[in-house]
């Protein structure tokens, strides 16, 4: 394991965390859209909380794809071809979502069909990304050449389905926190209520899944106990949930959103700290794909460090610009005019 490979594992995990925090809330808005908004005006307000930013948020997913391809081509090839139908469904969902949001930005009331597309296009990818992470914690069947050897059905095991539900709860919680931060009136009241409910659900699911994971074979649980950083990320996740409920009592939406985001980072951290250096663990004693075995050559990794050092600030700066321009609560008019 070289320092470069470790660096890229850390950058990769950080990118996943950023993506989860940012796209997490707009996927969450999609998941909750039928619950939160009951009338056209509320729907427009809800959509307008994400319409200027969702595209930029989703770009982080594309970045993860590009970085995985460049830094760990072995993992990129195995995960995407192994989870073929899972990822294709994720893409179909995201396409439906992007169309529902992107083509109807100017209209106040998209039809029921498009609202359903937005909802389903948020639920399906969220659940399936949870399924993916679940399998990356649990392990999959791998051949000696590092190809996936399991079946599609094997990806939907009780643990990964639990993780899929956890992902739905996480994103919904993040979405409710965002909606409460950006909305006013009835929508605001409702999103605060949903935020609290999903926060408690998250805690319950977390306890349940931790207990499940503790009983599993594999190195993840052992790593979490053994590594000091493991305790840090668990505490971060718990503190995030606690903070969120605490700030909710004080009516502080900003604090609650920060709490939800901290919890999100904590959950991604639990995956990363427990996994390192493994990217795709193998079931049945096969050879896992690690940051060492799946990585690109050191020449590429060095070039990519330069690219990341220049590019991530550019990306972060432009993301900050859009959040700064569109700060504050929104009103019901979809174009803010």
């Amino acid at each position: 394991m070289s320092g470069l490979q470790t660096t890229w594992f850390v950058i990769g995990a950080a990118l996943v965390a950023v993506y989860a925090v940012l796209d997490g809330f707009d996927l969450g808005i999609g998941i909750l859209s039928p619950i939160l908004a009951r009338e056209d005006e509320q729907r427009a307000m809800l959509r307008h909380t994400v319409s200027p930013v969702w595209d930029s948020n989703e770009v982080w997913l594309i970045i993860i794809g590009g970085v995985l391809f460049a830094a760990f081509p072995g993992a990129y090839a195995t995960i995407l071809s192994g989870f073929y139908l899972v990822f294709m469904l994720v893409f179909f969902g995201l396409i439906a979502r992007a169309t529902a949001l992107g083509l109807h930005y100017g209209s106040v009331a998209p039809s029921r069909r498009w609202r359903t597309a937005f909802w389903a296009g948020s639920v399906i990818p969220s659940f399936l990304l949870g399924i993916t992470v679940g399998n990356l914690v649990r392990g999959v069947g791998l051949t000696s050449s590092g190809d996936f050897s399991g079946s599609l059905v094997s990806l939907f095991n009780p643990f990964s389905i639990g993780m899929g539900i956890l992902a739905l709860a996480l994103f919904a919680n993040q979405g409710a926190a965002w909606a409460s931060l950006k909305s006013t009136g009835e929508l605001h009241v409702r999103s605060v209520r949903v935020r609290r409910a999903t926060g408690w659900a998250l805690l319950a699911l977390f306890v349940l899944m931790t207990a499940y994971a503790a009983g599993m074979t594999g190195t993840h649980a052992a790593n979490m106990v053994r590594r000091p950083l493991g305790w840090v990320v668990v505490l971060l996740a718990l503190a995030g949930i606690a903070c969120q409920q605490f700030f909710a009592l004080r009516g502080d939406d900003r604090g609650a959103f920060a709490g939800a985001s901290a919890a999100m980072v904590g959950f991604v951290g639990i995956w990363a700290v427990g996994s390192y250096p493994v990217i795709v663990p193998a079931l049945d004693g096969g050879a896992a794909l690690t940051a060492a075995s799946a990585s690109a050559g050191s020449g590429t990794l060095k070039v990519m460090v330069v690219v990341a050092a220049l590019g991530i600030p550019v990306a972060a700066a432009s993301a900050l610009v859009v959040y700064r321009v569109f700060r504050g609560r929104v009103d019901g008019n979809p174009r803010g005019e």
């Binding site: 989703e58 970045i63 970085v67 995407l80 179909f92 190809d147 020449g299 590019g311 569109f326």
Partner: protein
């Protein structure tokens, strides 16, 4: 070739070809949008604001489908071409990551501002944002063509343990085919954008709707269109010279040159007699040798110089290549005709020509797709020229049945998406540019003043309208820009911007 390989190829071709329908339109419209925003920034006129908004809407609708269909492409190499991904990961992933980090964020951020933030930012910031969206889109085209060009003319690597390892990043980025490929492709997007804009303007002129807007848009579209479409054959020629040097078999297939020969003819139209190994065509004798070497003795390498298993399909390439050229020349002629009519000041009365413009809109898109087929099919049977065969590059774990399933879903979703996009575009065009309602003689005065502003701007620069304001202010002793805007609509949205624009140094 196994079914899985064939289906993966069809799926990739279908999804990227679909993506490539929207990319040239949005990039080309991006240029039209920047030009409109520039005009608005300089004049501050309501009509120019409405024009910029109109192009923004069209751009955004097309961009949205581009984003939706582009997302899958980032992952398509891993899903369907795992062996390829492992082979090229050291080289191919980096440009994709660079594209995302340096282009997509800037693009999505500033598109958000252009679409939703006009009231939240200054006119200058709005104008800069349109430039950033367009510039980032062009930059993204650059990086994706870096990756693509490497597949055609790989460089800067060695093969170790069955995969390409990077040895020289600059050589891997600036491969031999990058420059002509990038210029040729970007210029094609300008042609596409100008034809789309011209078709919409012609449609309005024929319907006698939004005529002020349409006349201006048509002038812009014709100028952009004539420059780009007349330049395109020359850029294409530059690219062909590069292909002859670096991928001679591809060029031989385009012209169906089987035997290595001097005095090679240039086919204009025809077909390939594959058993007889010759083109049956109307041809210019010595034409190909003359074009590529400037003398008839130039030797062109033939298809038979390599084994049959290393040759691309000849018939289909011969057709796409000659059709692309034919359509490309037609596009240049259409634009030249428009410029002629414009200079004779007969454009808006030439109904036949306007109809031609309206219905010519799909032609540049057709030419783009044909050009893309010409270059990509021309690379076959290789996925990386000379290094890895397409047949060996697929994901071994993905079955033909799985690809067939996803391919059918793609076909359904993308077809629906196409009609949705078409409906949205039609609604935008039917709605037209939203110029604030005009009423009474005060409005006439505003229009006169506005055109005066524009003329002053072109003569004196941004200080022109400011001086005009000062003169009127001293005569009337009141706030001019507020005064005449109020008479229009209560919500005339550019009121603040118009006076801002004038007051800025």
């Amino acid at each position: 070739m196994t079914t899985a390989v064939l289906l993966s190829r069809v799926q990739f071709a279908f999804t990227i070809g679909y993506h490539f329908l929207y990319v040239p339109i949005s990039l080309g419209l991006g240029l039209i949008l920047v030009l409109a925003a520039r005009r608005y920034r300089r004049s501050g006129m309501e009509l120019d604001r409405a024009a910029a908004d109109f192009w923004t809407k069209l751009f955004a609708a097309t961009f949205a489908v581009g984003v939706a269909s582009g997302l899958t492409m980032e992952f398509a190499f891993g899903t369907n071409w795992a062996t390829y991904s492992r082979f090229v990961g050291n080289i191919f992933g980096a440009p994709l990551a660079v594209e995302g980090l340096f282009s997509f964020f800037i693009e999505s951020t500033f598109l958000g501002i252009v679409l939703f933030g006009k009231r939240k930012v200054s006119t200058r910031m709005y104008y800069v944002s349109t430039w950033l969206v367009f510039g980032a889109a062009a930059f993204s085209a650059f990086w994706i063509l870096v990756a693509n060009s490497w597949m055609h003319t790989p460089a800067g690597y060695t093969v170790e343990g069955g995969r390409a390892v990077l040895t020289n990043i600059w050589a891997a980025i600036f491969t031999k085919s990058l420059a002509p490929r990038f210029v040729h492709t970007l210029n094609a997007t300008f042609i596409t954008g100008s034809f789309v804009a011209a078709a919409i303007a012609a449609h309005y002129l024929l319907k006698r709707k939004h005529q002020d807007f349409a006349k201006r848009a048509l002038t812009t579209a014709l100028i952009v269109g004539v420059l780009s479409s007349v330049a395109q054959p020359f850029i294409g020629h530059w690219h062909a010279i590069e292909v002859e040097a670096d991928q001679p078999i591809k060029l031989a297939a385009w012209e169906a040159i089987y035997e290595t020969q001097s005095h090679a003819p240039l086919s204009i139209y025809g077909w390939v007699d594959e058993t007889g190994q010759r083109p049956v065509s109307i041809a210019i004798p010595d034409g190909l040798s003359l074009l590529l070497g400037l003398h008839p003795g130039k030797v062109i390498q033939g298809l038979n110089s390599v084994p049959a298993s290393d040759r691309p399909p000849v018939q289909v390439l011969f057709q796409t290549w000659h059709l692309m050229i034919g359509v490309g020349i037609l596009l240049a002629l259409i634009m030249l005709g428009g410029i002629y009519l414009l200079m004779r000041k007969r454009l808006e009365y030439s109904l036949g020509y306007l109809k031609l413009l309206k219905y010519a809109m799909p032609l540049p898109i057709l030419a783009s797709i044909l050009g893309w087929m010409t270059t990509e099919i021309g690379r076959q049977p290789w996925i990386v020229q000379g290094e890895l065969r397409t047949a060996d590059a697929v994901s071994s774990t993905v079955s033909a049945g799985e690809v067939a399933t996803t391919l059918s879903i793609f076909v359904v979703i993308y077809t629906v998406l196409f009609f949705v996009w078409l409906r949205v575009v039609r609604a935008i065009v039917r709605h037209g540019p939203e110029v604030a309602p005009e009423a009474g003689p005060a409005e006439e005065g505003e229009r006169l003043l506005a055109s005066l502003r524009l003329k002053l701007t072109s003569v004196l620069g941004p200080s022109g309208p400011r001086r005009l304001d000062q003169i009127i202010k001293s005569r009337k002793g009141g706030d001019v820009s507020g005064g005449y805007h109020e008479s229009g609509a209560g919500h005339s949205p550019d009121r603040g911007h118009a006076s801002d624009g004038g007051a800025r140094p």
